[in-house]
Assembly symmetry: C2
Homo-oligomer: 171 residues x 2
């Protein structure tokens, strides 16, 4: 069974760490699929796709930020679709070596998808596929089930000091 | 002045987060140089270099792991050279948009390089260059000086449970 990793916490670096792992896998000629929850925006990573064979990145979400306290019906549908897509991927004969569910923890803690379904994904993880789940607010059960959990702790953040978010650094 | 980020702590994801940021910068057509301290081994990231224009990765270290309690004279020289190289980079007219000093915190806490010199690098950080310092054991002064600090907290690690390190996941 593949290894399931969780990157959670309020600090910067969760999605970045997942993308860093993706780069490493791709470097070894392995295949990577990134499923992005709650994201439909052009990001730096997306622009690189054409340079990296074996790399697939699929976004489920609108261009706007999701109101997590009151997600729209469309946002919820997109999140459910993302999870469905991920599940289907794992049943294919040509499965990725690394599957990243970016921001899935956020969708889960906002009640947009079912914890039971995410846990099922971990329980049925095929041999050669490793799974990474990112986003703040990972649930206790998810962390219990995962093999590796890192909490990114926000010790200091420049945007608290009034610095502006910058292309590349933040998105 | 660029932004200085520190990824420290015992958890997994420090180097990965730095590489993820690199990918994002490259996606926006920006330039990235990664200077690796204490590393002379082929890693997944290294193998990708040819696919990514604007990306430079330079290793200073031997193929063997460094004995941090008793680093060899050669190891110390290599670490000093890495820092010297980084400093030189920042004085060039063609400076990278992102400079990553991978594992510099480890070299520093092992006494292989001078804290004063690393702090000087932060103090003299040019406008358009952002800096990322990775590795466990970041010093207090470094964290005070940096704009962004994330501590990767090791909540759960599979290799404690006896699972083997795997290509792509760990190196």
């Amino acid at each position: 069974m593949g290894i399931a990793c969780v990157f959670t916490g309020k600090g910067k670096g969760k999605t970045s760490a997942a993308f860093g792992m993706a780069v490493r896998f791709l470097g070894y000629g392995k295949s990577v699929v990134i499923v992005q929850f709650l994201k439909g925006r052009k990001t730096g990573e997306l622009l690189l796709k054409k340079n990296l064979p074996g790399f697939e990145i699929v976004q489920f979400g609108s261009e706007d930020f999701v109101d997590l306290k009151n997600p729209s019906k469309e946002d919820i549908e997109q999140a459910k679709e993302a999870l469905f897509y991920a599940k289907r991927l794992l049943t294919r004969s040509y499965r990725p070596d690394l599957l990243i569910l970016d921001e899935v923890n956020v969708a889960l803690s906002a009640g947009m998808i079912e914890e039971r379904e995410v846990l099922e994904l971990l329980n049925k993880l095929p041999d050669k596929t490793n799974l990474v789940l990112t986003g703040r607010g990972a649930t206790k059960k998810l962390m219990e089930k995962a093999d590796l959990v890192t909490e990114m702790r926000d010790v200091k953040h420049p945007f608290k000091k009034g610095k502006k978010a910058e292309k590349g650094l933040e998105y």
